[in-house]
Each structure stands twice: as C-alpha cells, then as structure tokens.
C-alpha cells in the first residue's frame, strides 16, 4: 500500500472538515500579534482544495499541481502562499507518479520545508510553520507504516509546539513583537499541528 491520489483526497477532506472548529481558534491565535486572519484564510483555502477534483488528475503530481493552482487563485497571505509553495513542490516531486511509497513521505516533507524556507526567506528556529515542517520531516523520516507515521506526526507536532512556545518569533508579523510572542503558539505552526491531528485521525490535544 502506498500514498495515492485517494490518500491525498481523503487528507484534504479531513483537513477541510477540521476547520469548522478551528477557524476561530486560529484567527484568535493570529490576532494576538498579527492581523487575525489565519483561520479565515485557511478555511477558505482548504475549502478551495476540497472543491478541486483531485481524483480526476492523471497522477499525484498533477493532483498536487491542481491544488497549487486553485490555491494560488484563492489567497496571497503569507501562510497561504507557503501552503501553495508546498503543493507546487510536492507536485514537482511526484510528477508522473501515481503512487508514492510511505517511506518517501519524510523526504517529501523535507523538500517542502526547504522550498518554504526559500520562498519565505526564513531560517529554521524562527518559530514559524517551517519549524513544524522540519519537526515533522525528521520525525517520520524512514517510517513506512501509515498508522505509525500518523502517530509519529502527531507526536512531533505536540513536541514542536511545546519546544517553541516559550521562544521568541523571528519572522513574519510576530517578529516585531519577539518578546510578546513568548508563551504564544505561532499561528502557522499551530495550524499545521491541528491539520496533522485531523488528517492523522488523532484526538486533538488541548493546547492551552
């Protein structure tokens, strides 16, 4: 068994559905130091993804590219643009493939992380979604069992949020308020975590 368009489609449905309860939470997290739109933006972006007929795509790469294209027409926010960059990266990496073996997911996540770093001109350790991607990539590296990956991914998210919570932000709007950001979750990292929990089918840990 490997990652197919079906796997991707289900993941997107789950991510989309999770936003019902998450929109306000993420808006509130972003409002603390930013402009309060992370939840609204992500809800719209995931709804846009869910509306894409990924199953009609000839291969995984095309499916990811279709998502990237639809997303690019939907938002230009920082996080949204990084998500779209992620889709493009995954699309290029899987172009022509109908399957991706589970043990390649870690490497794909690492590639996404690197592309997001380039696009966002952000370093590791700046307390952004990129640190979340980094933790995820390292934690699932080499794993090949979907359920194990799901558990490891969720655990990585719990851990990375905890690791960074008391560190200052160094990128994005929150950078301006590095001190104030101590004790707060980065909205992008929190969003990644919540979506991973939803996709993995894990119960959402209580974050605060």
């Amino acid at each position: 068994m490997a990652i197919t368009i079906e796997t991707l489609t289900i993941a997107i449905v789950r991510a989309d559905q999770s936003m019902t309860g998450l929109t306000d939470v993420l808006n509130a997290a972003d409002a603390k130091l930013g402009d309060g739109d992370t939840g609204t933006m992500l809800a719209r972006l995931l709804r846009t993804f869910a509306a894409v007929d990924t199953r009609a795509a000839p291969d995984l790469g095309a499916a990811f590219m279709a998502l990237a294209k639809a997303g690019a027409a939907s938002t230009g926010s920082s996080l949204g643009t990084l998500v779209i960059t992620a889709m493009m990266t995954a699309g290029k990496a899987t172009m022509g493939q109908t399957e991706l073996s589970w043990d390649q997911l870690g490497a794909l996540t690492a590639a996404v992380r690197d592309a997001a770093m380039t696009r966002g001109k952000a370093e590791l350790g700046a307390k952004t979604i990129i640190d979340g991607l980094d933790a995820l990539a390292r934690q699932i590296e080499g794993l090949d069992e979907p359920t194990v990956i799901a558990q490891a991914g969720s655990a990585a998210m719990v851990q990375v949020l905890a690791d960074f919570r008391d560190r200052p932000s160094a990128v994005g709007r929150a950078r301006m308020f590095a001190d104030k950001s101590i004790g707060l979750d980065d909205p992008g990292m929190l969003a990644l975590a919540e979506i991973i929990y939803a996709i993995a089918g894990e119960r959402r840990p209580v974050h605060d």
């Binding site: 130091l33 402009d35 230009g76 926010s77 920082s78």
Partner: protein, 331 residues
Amino acid sequence: MKKLINDPANYVEEMLDGLCLAHPGLKRVGVDRRAITTANPIRAGKVGIVSGGGSGHLPLFTGYVGKGLLDACAIGNVFEGPTINSCQDAIEAANGGAGVLCLFGNYGGDRMNFEMASEFAAMNDVDTRTVLGTDDIASASPAEADKRRGVAGLIFAYKAAGALAEGGGSLDAVEAIARKTVERTRTVGVALSSCQIPGATAPNFTIADNEIEMGMGIHGEPGIWRRPIRPADELVDEMIAMLLAERPEGATRVAILVNSLGATPLEELFILYRRAHQQLERSDLRVVRPLIGPYVTSMEMGGASISLCFLDEEIEELLAAPADCPFWRID
C-alpha cells in the same frame, strides 16, 4: 460588530464592483478580476507603477489608481496579500514597455506574491523593480528600519513616483524616487477600537473603554504601549516627538498626513492636525500640503495616524504635480 454587508464571501467582489461602478475611470481586469487599472490603457513608453495588498484599507490601495499615481493595483481578500495571479495581472496592466515598479507595503504575503509575479514578468521580458513601504516607526527600531511595516505614509511614495513616471522618468529614476520618498517618510498610529474581518466571529482585538494603544498597526498588530486615553494634544506631542526623533539631516519642510483609521471623525483629525502643525512649526519645520482625512483605513477601526514626509526639492515638486484618482486630486 455590525456591518452593512451581504455574504462575507462576496465582500471584496461586491466592494470592487461598487467601486468601479461609482468610478468609471477604474476597471477590474485579470482572470479573477482582482486587479484594478485605469479605464484607459497605460501610455506606451511610460514606466508603470503597481501596488497591491489586502482589502479593508480603502481608499488604499485601489483608490489610488489614476493619472500621476498608480497604473494598476492587485487586491487580495481582507488583510490577505493579493494572489500571484492578481499581481501578474496588475503588472501586465501597468506594462507600457518601459518597466514596472512594484510599490507596496512590507508584508510577507504581498512580498512573496509580487516576487513570484515578478519572476513570471521577467520571463516575459518585463523589467520590474520592487520598493517596499516601511514607514511605521513603531514596528521596528531605526537600525532595522527596512523591516518596518508599511502603513499610511505609502501614499507619499505613490505620489512622488507616480508624478515622475507620468513626466517620463526612467524605471531607474522612478525606483530611486520611490525609495527616497519611503526613506524620508515616517508614520505612527494610535488605535482606539478594533475592526473585525467580515465573517469572523470576534473583533481583531479588544481594548478597554478608557484605553488606547500607541503604535498599533493597520491590521491591529500590537503597538508600543497601551494606556488610559489622554488629551489629544499630549498624544500628538508624543507622536510628533517620535516622528522627529528620526528627522533626516537638513530637512526643513514636511508634508503631513493626518489619517483616520476608519471610525475616527474628521472633527478629531482637525483637532490633531491643529496641534501637529503647531509643534512642527515650533521645530522649525514648514508644513506644506497637509492631507487630513481617511486615506488609509482598517475598515471600522477607531484611531488615527500621523505621517510625515520630510521633503527635499525633488519630492516637494513631485508631490505638487497634477494627479487624479477617485480619492486624491491635485491640478
């Protein structure tokens, strides 16, 4: 928070339709019709000036498309950068064959999308330059001035660059004047009450009935301090002192913008302006071309910002040049 709107999902679409219906000199272009440009195409050989950003700041950004100002503008959802497509559409609309200056506020999403759009433009042999508005002195120290957010003062750069482009300036020259104007422009704002993103269930921030926040950004980003409200003159004195702390050497003349963030009425802006004018003259700065009104807003946010553009001869002349857009006109 009550709003006179329909489905929040249609907020930007309906707003842009209304804007273009009311101002037939503007038109929506592009696949998503999320770029605004002038009804008449750009003059061949003229350097194009493009801006863009999230919705919710009218008259910014789209309201400054017009003669002697912007040629086109990419517009995103409320507080979200414009999409890469919209940025491409705006650049395309502003391409008169002499290159395009992308002049917008320093925010991550806007930057990434204009960057990608510029890469595409380069593939089509359109020369683009980027100058970021970074006038909000409350958002970073002078040492990190290039990391500051762009707020109301951006319109001075629109005006100066727009006038130079209109007068036939080269892309290099237009880029340079935009950069110089940004460098000589500083803004600080004080917020009294929050706005709310259409469809969101809560305001962007809460603030006590007797409190104000100095230095707050136009999306409600935290400022420098939050304290009980004080008389307007005291607040203006503090704001002017902050702005003058970074007075460029030799500056003797200054253009000013006293701007409403949305709900603050004109009466209060004039009370603020009166004091600001006094204090600037006391500091041996001659005030020219005051702008008082809602020029860069955050929907219904309460509060005001003061922007100073420290003039030199070149900037002053360009600010005085004719311009004509729905919200700013100089003959």
